[in-house]
Amino acid sequence: MTKLKPAAISKPAAKVRSISRSRPQLPKAPTGIQGLDEITGGGLPKGRPTLICGGAGCGKTLLAMEFLVRGATQYNEPGVFMSFEETAQDLTQNVVSLGFDLKGLAARKKIVLDHVYVERSEIEESGEYDLEGLFIRLGAAIDAIGAKRVVLDTIETLFAGLPDPAILRAELRRLFRWLKDKGVTAVITGERGEGTLTRQGLEEYVSDCVIVLDHRVSEQTSSRRLRVVKYRGSTHGTNEYPFLIDEDGISVLPVTSLSLDHKASSERISSGVARLDAMLGGKGYYRGSSVLVSGTAGTGKSSLAAHFADAACRRGERVLYFSFEESPDQIMRNMRSIGIDLQPCVKKGLLQIYADRPSSAGLETHLALKHKLIDDFKPQVVIMDPLNSFVIGDNQIEVKSMLMRLVDFLKTRQITGLFTNLAQSGNPLEQTDVAISSVIDTWLLLKDIDSGGERNRCLSILKSRGMAHSNQIREFLLTDRGVELRDVYVGPEGVLTGSARLTKEAEKEATLLVHDQEVELRRIELERKRTTLEAQVAMLRAEFAVQEVASLTIIDQEKAEKAQLAQGLVDMGLIRKVDAKPNKQKGGSK
């Protein structure tokens, strides 16, 4: 496996604060707000006042209202909302869009809305006063419905409406003590002041739990954050957590508290390209792993992503495709051109393409949004295309931390993530803009090879944790039947692709043919020689046979002549009446 450069990465594990749940702890009133209960370890301190402060428009009133409504509807804790700014009618209308039916809740005696109207110009002061009226009023409302929760929004308005701040301060102190004695869980909102959490320093009086909301704008994008500054008698998440306000109300995402203890599945899933699966140990990616496809412009990153999405949908899995550069329609049209039709997947509800510009929101908001979408859709595969469009200006560190948290989040959910990264030409390819390579399990590199007057795409696996993967570069072809991987030509001239590869292959074929012909020729020659030789052997054999016959004939003739001669002598002897002394025949015969 490729060892990566040790990028300076703050491990998310270091940020984890375990929130112990086993030991007995402070009784808490659950807010019912997604994520907030997680951060606070169960909710706001029960029977105590909590201060929620922040600048204008950061969601204080909404948070308080949601706390009250959820209490009334989910935890059977009726509540009193004492508003010092908005009328009951305005409040009711403002939260209708969130599905909160204040009118109905009020009718069912679950909620009391009380608008405290203070007009400075109508009030004259003469002598000492106290806020007993407010106490009586609040007490009456609490008793009327047996309220367990109280919201005072925003009590600091009293400072503008009533004279003598010294009396007010003393009275507020008494009020908070009184609320505590009453045993109601109270939420007090306060406008952020200069250098202090609230304009009138309410944090001095309400000090059991302080939550600060923030709505800040950087690089012209806004993000909302929440931080628990203080929580007496309880551990709590201390980071700044992004939160969203949408049609479901507030959701806080404790995204910074992820740990590194996710399970690792050994299940393998296809990348959608058979040849690529073969390169990845024959089986494809691991489920729940993170895959990075990086490459320069136009190398086919999105096509690989689409293949993967298509393959996942074919397996019946849900895929969430985040696109940051193309609209869903555009993606589908473009993918159709290489033979991938995503339309049926979308129709079946297996594929959801979510396109937005990275600049549409702050990074944290993006992350929170992604979390929420993932939580809602529960996909098995998440694709983000491309990652580096988040890098705007000088925010690389934030982008990195965001992506790392996202990858961790996906891993804890066993979701396979495929990310593409557009590498800038000129930069080394093995370096991503967002430097998240260390959290990536499988890294595919797409490259352009520019030679012989053409550009050709190449794919190689830079790393793939936990599997034996191919070390070969493959030529990457986009055909009308999808992505195809081909062997590249590797020879003395180096790696050849495209038409150079074809030429080289043809050349090679020709050479082979010539070679084959030569071999054939030699074989024929040999055959010819053998035939010739065999003919010669036959001829010699025949000659020999002829000679043999001749020789035998001569021998026989000579034998016959000899016998005849002997007979002749005998006959002659008989005629000449020679004595029978054949041994002396030789010497005196002539």
């Binding site: 109508e122 004259e124 006063y129 007993e132 009586i136 009023r137 009533l162 004279p163």
Partner: protein, 113 residues
């Protein structure tokens, strides 16, 4: 939603005729039990009324401990609160009414110098 939780109508909407300026005063004093401030306020307003509005005023003293629901309707926060219902416009004076000058000015019995 309760009607009376909305802010009281602006004082100008009340019917007013020009001659009531020096005529009847309808005053309501909201107190809470027998607290020193409440007791002082009752004593003080009675004295002021007798001295300045004899025969042309009506004073109601309302103990919110007895009728807590009135606090919301009348938008009472501070105790004691004196409300001038008539003549319009509606005026509120908070405190134990120990500063007689301020009360007189607040009730517009005596114009500011």
């Amino acid at each position: 939603m309760k009607k009376n939780s909305s802010p009281p109508e602006p004082p100008k909407a009340m019917s007013a005729s020009p001659k009531v300026v020096s005529s009847r005063y309808i005053l309501k004093l909201y107190i809470a039990g027998q607290s020193p401030k409440s007791v002082n306020a009752i004593v003080n307003i009675k004295k002021i009324c007798e001295e300045n509005l004899r025969g042309r005023y009506e004073l109601d003293v309302i103990d919110l401990y007895q009728q807590p629901q009135l606090a919301q309707g009348e938008q009472i926060i501070a105790i004691p609160t004196l409300i001038r219902k008539l003549p319009p416009p509606l005026r509120r004076i908070i405190g134990d009414l120990s500063d007689t000058e301020k009360v007189l000015m607040g009730l517009e019995i005596r114009k500011k110098a």
